[in-house]
Symmetry: C2
Subunit: 349 residues, 2 copies
Amino acid sequence: MDSHAYGVIMAGGIGSRFWPMSTEDHPKQFIDILGTGQSLLQQTFERLSNICPADQIYIVTNEQYREITKKQLPGINDSQVLCEPMRRNTAPCIAYANFKIMDLDSKANVLVCPSDHLITKESVFNEVISQSLKQAATKDVLLTIGIKPSRPDTGYGYINYEKTNAAFSKVISFTEKPDLETAKKFVASGDYSWNSGMFIWNVNSIDKAFRELLPEMHLQFEKGKGKYNTEAEQAFINQVYPSCENISIDYGIMEKAGNRQVINADFGWSDLGTWGSLYEHIPQDQGGNALIGKKVMSLDARGNIVHVPNEKLVVMIGLDDCIVVEHGNALLICKKEEEQKIKKITEGL
Amino acid sequence: MDSHAYGVIMAGGIGSRFWPMSTEDHPKQFIDILGTGQSLLQQTFERLSNICPADQIYIVTNEQYREITKKQLPGINDSQVLCEPMRRNTAPCIAYANFKIMDLDSKANVLVCPSDHLITKESVFNEVISQSLKQAATKDVLLTIGIKPSRPDTGYGYINYEKTNAAFSKVISFTEKPDLETAKKFVASGDYSWNSGMFIWNVNSIDKAFRELLPEMHLQFEKGKGKYNTEAEQAFINQVYPSCENISIDYGIMEKAGNRQVINADFGWSDLGTWGSLYEHIPQDQGGNALIGKKVMSLDARGNIVHVPNEKLVVMIGLDDCIVVEHGNALLICKKEEEQKIKKITEGL
């Protein structure tokens, strides 16, 4: 294992589309949403620990989730949990982690990834990441992982790249969630991939990119030099965060940088962004109902996704294509095709 | 109030069509199924107490429900709860109650009724029953209450009667749950009514009918004379019940008796036999969702029936024409048109 390999897991989201399983108190990444016995964060940490030494994996999350993070990852040190005092987008999160890691290891190569995605082909993932870390170690590049698109999904971002025979291709442009017609064209063209939201770079390359493309933010975090990895770190972060720009790494850096590259891969990835996207990853009964819960019975019911506690007895009769989720004292029953409305109704709660 | 007026409430059923609200431990008649604050049994008792002295209302139920009956009707005496040691049909239940009442009052006139029906027009009900009790007091007749049919319901029994101008008509025949074509003809003909399952007679008329039409059963209960209304009553009942024929009063007596009459009425009656039949009796939101439960939200959801605890938060999105019921640790979600399957699936539980 590469001793300069580091991981940064971004775990500060609220996951409001997964209500009522996911709530602000206990969001998606901390939930065993696939019924595997592990939360998505635990799965992500375990996956990364095959690539980086476990004590070199950092979790950036909200102060609100410090305790649950430590509870779910009992082997880690307190210093591996980086807490934001308030919600900002991914750019400040990555700037913070990068200054901290740079302070420890100026030769560090870093994989930055979300905490709440699914990857089913771990060995392919390991191979792709190892290859990317090697590329990042020797080149001044900002690498992103592209996923071979299997359908014209309008929920994903797309990466347009220069087609060559090399593993790493130059990125031409990023397109956020296109309409269906555009998505179909992208998929047909063969030179677009899905944006997985995973990045690999060495600490100096991304530091340089911040300095050039988000100079104000870079300056803000640079003022913390000497405080990272000391007892003064949290107080500094608490002080600097409120004035940080609320901007994503995609918009702030990746869409503008000249040295960005993509490596396309197929390691059974899903961003698990919607209940519908879980469907194919959950064991199904004869009626094609994806069931998490040990006491769920169905009669003439098809295509439903059910996520309930194991002890709950659920009987579905004649129900088709619904999402049925119970968590705590809340029950959601939603037609699959209407699930974009979940966010709308739960914002009022 | 007529001092010879007695009530017999039959409250031994299981109500399996109302799972999961209704369970064998806690069946339909003991549930506040309409969200009124009273169970159906409590409503029935209160209704009868406008007609009979409250201490002359008897509840016949299963031994299993003795305590819940006493708990729900705290004003009654222990002797008013008649307990069957096992499930038999309505004929033994009525024979038992009749021998007991006859022993107390040889001039008693008795209203026998189910415990789990809905009646919304109480004053009309009171008038019809008073009139019927008077008829029963002076005539040797077996009266049944017919309900003016408002639709060709195939879930009810029908009474064919001789049309006259009199309040009480001679019954020609009974037909159990006809097919739709037949039901349509019945309703169109104008000389059919729905069988409400309520009966009125004096103790001697029904005693004579048992003696003639169910002579063996009559003999069995007659052996208890001297034990009714004593400490020996329950032991006698426990001993005689197992050998009683399992037969309904309709099949055993009413379909065969010569002196049966019907009085037709319209007092807002429903047998509340199915979840669907509750729909119109429960307050509805703007989407036509009939809701029992204080925290139920719906978005583009129509025509559902929801029955959940007040503290349960339920969000329905895009759901149409379903029955959603939570009780204890069980949840039912069933398309309204499929509700006849509830019984099927819950029999296996």
